[in-house]
């Protein structure tokens, strides 16, 4: 860890705080909040298969379940964990026992009481193979035993200390549902999940919309909400509009009030539209970054990895292709992660240095097409691209990367495919470069992405360590950090981990995971919940 980076740390934190403040600030209400009305939200994310976020556990489920299911803890705009369904908690000295005190005045919308037994049932539901949980299952992985000590006291016994436990529990995929409802068959619970949230799912017309009505008995808003008691809106209509241009047109025509997955060109034109406002809420966890697969040639040679990073200049492309809506990242972590460290000096562009490095690494012949070769093999990089995840602007950026890498003799093969084929290419190790966003609350995402254990595939074939970074020293730091509850000590460990990852030239950060909402200025009090940046409409009202 070098001195300039230590100096950069406070700067990064200040920048993060400023950004957080910027993205969560809502316009000052022009008048007293008005109760009533229906807000129409249009999502460009895939329609969830199941509205119970325990099942599977993807971002589309998190977006909608935030409206009707709540977690034990939440996170405020400063990145601090705050009480929600749990009011307080204590960790034992050895970090293996956690006691949570629960609210005793909350009921699920089916009338079932929220208590310690409900929490126990939910954690067990996540761990039950029949639930087929993925994200939530990982989040509660270290919880070995759950005891309902009293009606409002629950004790978790862990297999190992887990400094990420609270962050994990804050995620929507670990939300608490009615134990009575969970007893129903999965298909029914997927259709009409029951939580304690401000809205209730009442109807789901597939491929079209989900209707949510206000929970009149709601009393469990987190501390950072603007008001208490039931939500202001009568109802929410959650529409599925997959086409980005149509979604923006529907916002302009007034058919919908809020849209997600707004594209850079639309965000840019909305800036000049007084009837439209923007909410930029980057997702937590990792930044959007290119992973350099160090598990096979040519990126198993650090010089070739460094040459690639020196060769490609992504900043001008990000500025122009994203119309200034995406800020260049120099961090493995999202800018909303307080422990994220920005290291711009590590990513200076220097094609001459890149050429020298490649010559040094033995890639010193040039073939007739202008690409470097070594022992008759061309310096080729396979780059599978998921067209479901990479928006058109990002795909254009990858084309620019392809062009600038060619200048020093890399042949980059862009391979756009659908999501399933993309994962197929990753699982069979047929890639040298890949951009794979990963959302999780907290810096423990570094352990998931870069611990050598994560190279071992899950039963489905999935593995998260796509850089195939295998470094015992890094493993050690990440494991220690995941068991260190002292905030300062933990932050120092994560900074060290980030240095190892970046100094080894395993990643090329691009920008935060883009998560832009556009909304009509008649919508007041709309914000994104700081946990995974899903929208929350609890405080929202319509100022018509």
């Amino acid at each position: 860890m070098s001195a300039p980076r230590i100096l950069l740390l406070p700067l990064a934190i200040a920048a993060t705080a400023a950004l957080l403040a910027g993205c969560t600030a809502t316009p000052e209400p022009a008048a007293e909040p008005i109760s009533g009305g229906t807000l129409v939200y249009a999502t460009g994310d895939a329609e969830p298969g199941c509205l119970d976020p325990h099942v599977g556990g993807n971002y589309p489920q998190a977006l909608i379940s935030t409206q009707y299911i709540e977690s034990l803890v939440s996170k405020n705009a400063d990145g601090e964990i705050i009480p929600w369904l749990a009011t307080e908690w204590t960790e034992s000295a050895d970090g293996l026992t956690w006691d949570f005190t629960l609210r005793d005045d909350v009921t699920f919308t089916d009338g079932t009481a929220f208590d310690a037994d409900a929490v126990k049932t939910n954690i067990e539901h996540l761990k039950d193979p029949n639930t087929a949980s993925s994200t939530g299952y990982l989040a509660v992985g270290k919880i070995d035993g759950i005891d309902a000590v009293a009606a409002n006291q629950v004790r978790f016994t862990l297999s190992a200390p887990d400094s990420a436990l609270l962050e994990s529990l804050s995620q929507p995929w670990v939300g608490i549902q009615s134990p009575t409802a969970l007893e129903r068959d999965q298909a029914t619970n997927c259709e009409s999940p029951i939580g304690t949230g401000p809205f209730i799912v009442t109807e789901w017309v597939k491929q079209q919309s989900i209707t949510l009505e206000r929970n009149e008995n709601y009393n469990s808003a987190p501390d950072d909400a603007e008001h208490s008691g039931p939500a202001l809106l009568d109802s929410l209509e959650w529409r599925f509009i997959p086409d980005a241009a149509t979604r923006y047109a529907a916002l302009q025509s007034g058919d919908v009030d809020v849209i997600d997955n707004a594209q850079p060109n639309n965000i840019s034109s909305a800036e000049s539209d007084p009837a439209t406002a923007e909410l930029n809420a980057p997702r937590p966890g990792a930044s959007n970054r290119l992973e350099l697969n160090s598990g096979k040639a040519p990126f198993d040679d650090e010089r070739v990895r460094e040459a690639f990073i020196r060769a490609v200049d992504v900043s001008p492309g990000i500025d122009s292709l994203f119309f200034g809506t995406a800020e260049r990242s120099y961090s493995v972590l999202s800018s909303v992660e307080p422990d994220g460290v920005s290291m711009p000096d590590a990513f200076t562009v220097d094609p001459d240095a890149a050429n020298a490095l490649l010559d040094d690494a033995g890639w010193d012949m040039i073939d007739s097409d202008g690409y470097r070769t070594k022992d008759g093999v061309r310096l080729t990089l396979d780059f599978p691209i998921s067209t479901n995840q990479s928006i058109p602007a990002e795909q254009s950026l990858f084309e620019q990367i392809q062009a600038s890498a060619k200048d020093v003799g890399f042949e980059v093969n862009l391979k756009p495919t659908d999501l399933s084929s993309w994962y197929g290419a990753l699982f069979t190790n047929e890639y040298n470069l890949v951009s794979a966003p990963y959302t999780k609350v907290g810096p423990d995402v570094l352990r998931i992405l870069y611990h050598s254990d994560s190279i071992i595939p899950a039963p489905s074939g999935y593995y998260a360590n796509l850089a195939q970074l295998s470094d015992p020293a890094l493993d050690e730091i990440l494991t220690t950090a995941s068991q260190t509850s002292d905030a300062a000590e933990r932050a120092a460990l994560y900074e060290e981990a980030q240095s190892i990852i970046i100094d080894g030239y395993y990643v090329l950060p691009l920008y935060d995971q883009q998560n832009h909402y556009l909304y009509s200025t008649s919508v007041e009090g709309f914000r994104a919940l700081p946990t995974v940046s899903a929208p929350t409409f609890y405080d929202a009202w319509l100022n018509d």
Partner: protein, 329 residues
């Protein structure tokens, strides 16, 4: 087929022979249809397993799942995905033969009722588009198909343009003009007839171009026929000639083409339903393919094939009725 000299016998035998011919025709079409359905199911079954991606992912909420070993093993056993491929194939075909379409991997609900509701939405869209395309094509050709003149050139030019326009481009253009600029219509397919207008126009306009071009040619031919001269000689007005005599002939190739057109509308529905956020088979298929929801893909493919077969048989049958010469050929 019958002895031309024995006219009495011919009269007596024609009807039963024709009926037999019709029955054989129907039987052939049904047999052929079943064979096509079987082939569709087979191709879909193997194609979805040849492309990368594991169906278990769909069941686990999408690719990239990190579910436990137990959960994955449980799902494989539950859905029979642990069986050898050929066993899975025969089990799947046996179930399909009994009209059992199974449960959606992603939605965890019975496929048949779900896909049927989506079919209804797509049928409304495609049939409305077909009707609108016919009306527009007939109107355009009748109005502009004089003998030469600038009207004809304009009509023909419009048809060519319409036929050449891709659905996604036309959809965007219609949204920009009719929705964002003139504010006449919603850009998304809201429930009710108002939300049907833009999607139907998007599908109908290119088809209007095709139908129009086709009818214009047959109209031109029909104008050359002697019966047109006799009609004119009888003092029939120009519009009378067009409506009562020429149109009937000109429509024949259009009817035959409608079977094909319906198929193209079904594939156009994938684009149109996605752009206008309208429920339907096309959008269902798109999302099901991308997550390898095999039961849904199979059901949509079979249903589309079946619909296409029925429409083709129907147009052939109409051809036989309108023009009896077809049946005896």
């Amino acid at each position: 087929m019958t002895d031309p000299s024995d006219t009495t016998a011919e009269r007596l035998s024609t009807r039963p022979a024709a009926r037999l011919r019709s029955l054989a025709w129907v039987a052939r079409r049904i047999g052929g249809g079943l064979f096509v359905l079987w082939m569709v199911a087979t191709v879909i079954f193997f194609a979805l397993r040849l492309i990368p991606g594991d169906p278990v992912d769909a069941i686990l909420g999408g690719p990239g799942s990190q579910a436990s070993t137990e959960a994955v093993a449980h799902i494989r056993a539950d859905y029979g995905l642990d069986q050898p491929l050929i066993v899975q194939y025969f089990l799947a075909m046996a179930k399909l033969a009994m009209a059992d379409f199974g449960t959606s991997y992603a939605l965890k609900i019975a496929v048949a009722p779900y896909v049927l509701t989506q079919l209804w939405s797509t049928l409304v869209l495609t049939i409305a588009s077909l009707v609108v395309a016919w009306i527009l094509a007939v109107a355009l050709t009748l109005v502009t198909s004089g003998r030469g003149g600038p009207a004809r050139a304009v009509g023909s030019g419009l048809e060519l343009l319409a036929a050449a326009v891709p659905h996604f481009w036309l959809a965007s253009l219609l949204i920009i003009v009719l929705s964002n600029t003139l504010h006449w219509l919603p850009p998304i397919s809201v429930p009710g007839p108002l939300g049907l207008i833009l999607p139907v126009l998007t599908l109908a306009l290119p088809l209007t171009g095709f139908l129009g071009q086709l009818m214009r040619e047959s109209l031109a031919n029909a104008y050359e026929q002697p019966f047109v001269v006799s009609a004119r000689a009888r003092g029939e007005s120009e519009w009378g000639v067009r409506f009562r005599h020429v149109l009937r002939h000109a429509a024949l190739p259009g009817i035959s083409l409608s079977g094909w057109a319906f198929g193209s509308l079904l594939s156009g529905a994938v684009v149109v339903e996605t752009i206008f956020a309208r429920p339907g088979l096309g959008r269902t298929l798109l999302s099901a393919v991308s997550i390898r929801d095999i039961p849904v893909v199979t059901a949509v493919a079979l249903l589309s094939a079946l619909t296409f077969i029925i429409v083709t048989v129907a147009t052939d049958a109409i051809d036989r009725i309108v023009d009896p010469r077809v049946a005896t050929q």
